[in-house]
């Protein structure tokens, strides 16, 4: 600790350079933390979803609906325990930037298939008993400061007009990756609001035995193969994973960007430390003359370097955590997106590593400095 003052004054010797380097590291680690959280969230989304539930959608594409009559035909399939359906609503709440996922669900069958959503019984009954009731994720409630009984109006885009809802129930997911910013309302309400001009967007099929999924999938799709609305069925987990792949190879992209940023910042920090080391050749020679050991000088330079990157890294990574903590706006686009503590810790470890690597050469040079030649340079 007694050497901290020496390290501190050396850090502040060229304030502008130190601040710029800290800011560079801050931006880099902010990017790293945020991008890494995107990958983590997408990985988690692709893992979420049950193997015991199937999603049956139009083989033409997710935006093409399926006939209502498929409901009974799916239910009649061997190995199927229950069937429900849902539609994407795509409304706007106040402003287009307030994006969150909205689904019209068959209220009588849907909730029983999703035990992942914990809903208080009284709220569940209130939701089921009112045509305009809405079930909202706890994160969404927090994000907009809604309360139970509050009226919420969505402006329809696929289904034009103003749609009035009343918040009657709140769910809490058992896993953040499931998402706590979804908005569910009665399919009946959408049906009536569109004068019956609506059919299910996709079906959710609950299996009696998850291991029978391949057989049931094959049987369902073969059943509708030659109809005017062929289907594509897959497990919910595979469906979610497929949804994630629509983002492209984000993981690779993020890793590539992260690596490039790491090396760019490594060069910036290393350059700063090299300049600082060069400026202090004479002083290091004097310190050695006073009896400072080679190893001590090595450690002093290294600690200085680590302090720069750690401060920058902490600012960047905690800034990202503050900006993308629970209830952030991106959470509604990528379910479960938030900066996790594990990512913060990883970023701080990288910051320390960055400091060690970039300080290694000047620290080594300080350690191996030939005192006599250096003193002659000072003289």
């Amino acid at each position: 600790m007694k050497f901290m003052r020496l390290i501190w004054v050396n850090l502040l010797r060229n304030k502008r350079r130190t601040i710029l380097t800290v800011l560079s590291v801050m931006v880099a680690l902010f990017l790293f933390t945020t991008l890494r959280s995107v990958v983590t969230a997408l990985d988690a989304v692709s893992e979420v979803g049950s193997e015991a539930r199937l999603i049956t959608r139009s083989a033409t594409g997710i935006t093409f609906p399926l006939p209502q009559s498929y409901f009974e035909r799916l239910k009649a399939q061997e190995g199927v325990q229950a069937v429900s359906w849902a539609n994407w609503f795509g409304g706007i709440y106040v402003d287009q930037s307030n994006f969150f996922a909205q689904f019209a669900i068959d209220q009588d069958t849907y909730l029983d298939m999703y035990p992942e959503m914990a809903i208080p019984d009284d709220q569940k009954q209130a939701f089921l008993g009112e045509r305009t009731a809405v079930l909202v994720g706890s994160g969404l409630m927090q994000r907009f400061g809604w309360t139970l009984g509050q009226n919420v109006t969505l402006q329809g885009t696929i289904f034009p007009g103003d749609w009035e809802f009343t918040v009657r129930a709140v769910y809490v997911p058992d896993d953040p990756s499931f998402g706590d910013e979804m908005f569910f309302f009665h399919y009946d309400y959408l049906y009536e609001g569109t004068n019956g001009n609506i059919i299910p967007g996709w079906f959710v099929v609950q299996l009696e035995d998850p291991t029978a999924a391949p057989t049931v999938i094959d049987r369902i799709d073969r059943q509708f193969e030659n109809s005017s609305n062929p289907t594509q069925t897959e497990t919910e987990k595979a469906f979610n994973a497929g949804f994630v792949t629509m983002w492209g190879n984000i993981g690779f992209l993020v890793k590539a960007i992260g690596t490039a940023v790491f090396f760019a910042i490594l060069l910036v920090t290393a350059n700063t430390m090299m300049m600082a080391g060069r400026e202090r050749i004479g002083e290091n020679a004097v310190l050695k003359t006073l009896g400072f050991q080679d190893g001590l000088l090595f450690r002093l330079v290294l600690v200085e370097s680590v302090l720069i990157t750690l401060v920058g890294g902490a600012l960047g990574t905690f800034g990202s955590r503050l900006m993308f903590g629970p209830g952030n706006a991106v959470n509604s686009i990528i379910q479960g997106f938030r900066v996790q503590w594990s990512t913060v810790i990883l970023a701080l470890v990288i910051a320390i590593l960055l400091g060690v690597v970039s300080g290694m050469v000047p620290a080594w040079q300080a350690m191996k400095l030939p005192v006599i030649q250096a003193l002659r340079r000072v003289a």
Partner: protein, 223 residues
Amino acid sequence: MALVEIQDLTKVFHRDSQEIPVFDGVNLEIEQGEFLSLMGPSGSGKSTLLHLLAGLDKPTAGRITVGGAEVTGMKRRQLAAWRAQHIGFVFQFYNLLPVLTAFQNVELPLLLTRLSSRERREHVDTALGVVGLTDRSDHYPRQLSGGQEQRVGIARAIVSDPTMILADEPTGDLDAKSADEILALLKRLNEEFNKTILMVTHDAHAAERAHEVMHLDKGVLSR
């Protein structure tokens, strides 16, 4: 037994394939409490002798002992620790760290000891008091005159109470008045505190302040 014993000291520098001999078989003894000055033309090896005595450089051959410890046999790491304890070095250009105050500069050698913060403060205050700069302890080098900077340099050299003070042209960068003050201070350190001092200088007037003037020329040391 003398405090410093130099036996058959030889130093040869190598520049490319060329050998440049500096000393060849120099012998010297310095008693505890002596104040010696060393004169000689540029390139005669005066500073090299100081560097060898301080363990900053290695001789080509020969032996140096200080206070019974054989400096020439020590490893790099041992030398640094030994130097911190036994050698006070005064530079021609003061070599204070510009980012530290006078107090902090003087405290530097004490950071290598086990002294507590309070004990370090007491030692530094004493050293600054000896050189008459108690009221300048919070000043940075840029806020001090050349003479004051050198006094801080001397305070730094004596703060850990070393066995010996090595001064490499301590007045070389000072005006006559400041140089006189520094020489008076060194003399006082020698007389009042019994400090052994070896001072390299070009200035005959400065050299006369020592007990004895030695000359180094063409590798030959004469007393």
